[in-house]
Symmetry: C2
Subunit: 211 residues, 2 copies
DNA sequence: AAAATAGTGTCTGTTAGACATTATTAG
DNA sequence: CTAATAATGTCTAACAGACACTATTTT
């Protein structure tokens, strides 16, 4: 006897545009919350999806035409009051993409959102908090940039996400210690004056399944 | 049209006995995995449970006769292969109790487990990892001890969980910085020689809903 | 007094932040 | 040359680990 529960996945898809975290939102084509903005998400398809992460990945493919280089489970939101149709459970995921990949979606600054469907404002807040926390000790912000980037660009991103200015010298020391960047030999980016060495993230798992 | 998904909660209930992390396991009374050991868990009851955390809390009340002082969401495990009955999703929780509260349960050392039902070995591994990680910067291990404890006892727990010896002086400095303990005035525990000051955790939320 | 554990103080090597200096390009 | 940004070097204050010392109890 199956219990009547609505089982969905949602994805907080983030990128960085104009130096601000932006989240992908879509107008809902049907009730409930018809025409309201919502996170990309949908029902789990038991025949199709190996697990919830695969469902999230499929949703992004279908609804945003992209395959994010980073996707992790954020947490699960559940209860009888979040969806007017009944008791529901949503496995929420966090995905990051580079700004170029993100052509098909509509983007909104994560710190100044319109009214959203369901409890999606809460999910986004949780995602932003997660990104902030993980950024202080991980390569996460690297997934928000184009594949190749300079250390100055990367520092600007970290500084923006953490909300504080960073010292160049100690920032670079930390990057060397954490050791998740690799120099791209012969690749430079010469904006205005002295060209800067380009770097990329070292090869990492496409899906981070850490819990 | 509801999708046929089995929606459950499971709880990795941990305590500390004989200086080892121990997990509560129960023999399954029915198929699937009849008579195998499993985590306390069960179906979500949409009429009864406000959300998944409440369901986990109810399961602990019903199956282990206890109300844990600490409970948080660990993560969600899902897929078509973890339960022979079909595509299933389990919101797994981590709960900590003091050893005295844990009379009704059967305890097993978390690092040497028998064969378990479902993917519960994986859930336990995730819980232990979470406890290890959080312990380095939080009050978490305090929930594994009796309400009142000495700093030496607390240090022994941390040392055990983190798997490394700790310096007394710097350990106490850190406790003071993190500031989650309070002295219990006039309470001492005089094992063999000089009695030690007793401490307790400062009042904190019963449920940690951080994600 | 000796033994045992609790609790505090001091020293020192490491490190993160502040800042200065050098390097390399365009104009 | 100067201007501008990249990249590295140096200095210092704060801190964590190591260890010593003091304090309080039982026997």
């Amino acid at each position: 006897m199956p219990n009547q529960v609505i089982v969905t996945v949602d994805v907080v898809l983030l990128t960085l545009k104009e130096m601000r975290l932006q989240v992908a939102l879509m107008k809902r084509p049907q009730e409930p919350f018809k025409d309201a903005l919502a996170l990309p998400g949908g029902y789990v398809h038991p025949e199709e999806d190996a697990d919830a992460a695969s469902a999230a990945y499929r949703v992004l493919r279908e609804k945003a035409q992209l395959r994010p280089p980073y996707l992790e489970q954020l947490g699960t939101f559940s209860g009888g009051r979040r969806d007017p149709r009944g008791w529901s459970i949503s496995v929420c995921h966090l995905a990051l993409v580079t700004p170029e990949a993100a052509t098909d979606s509509q983007w909104f600054p994560a710190d100044k959102l319109p009214r959203l469907a369901f409890d999606h404002a809460k999910l986004i807040a949780a995602a932003v908090t997660r990104v902030r926390n993980k950024s202080s000790y991980s390569a996460l912000p690297g997934y928000l940039l184009p594949e190749l980037f300079t250390l100055s660009e990367l520092q600007a991103i970290y500084s923006q996400i953490l909300g504080e200015p960073l010292e160049k010298s100690s920032f670079r020391r930390k990057l060397r210690d954490l050791d998740f960047l690799e120099e791209v030999p012969g690749a430079f980016q010469g904006g205005k004056q002295r060209p800067a060495q380009l770097y990329r993230l070292k090869g990492m798992a496409l899906f981070d399944r850490t819990i």
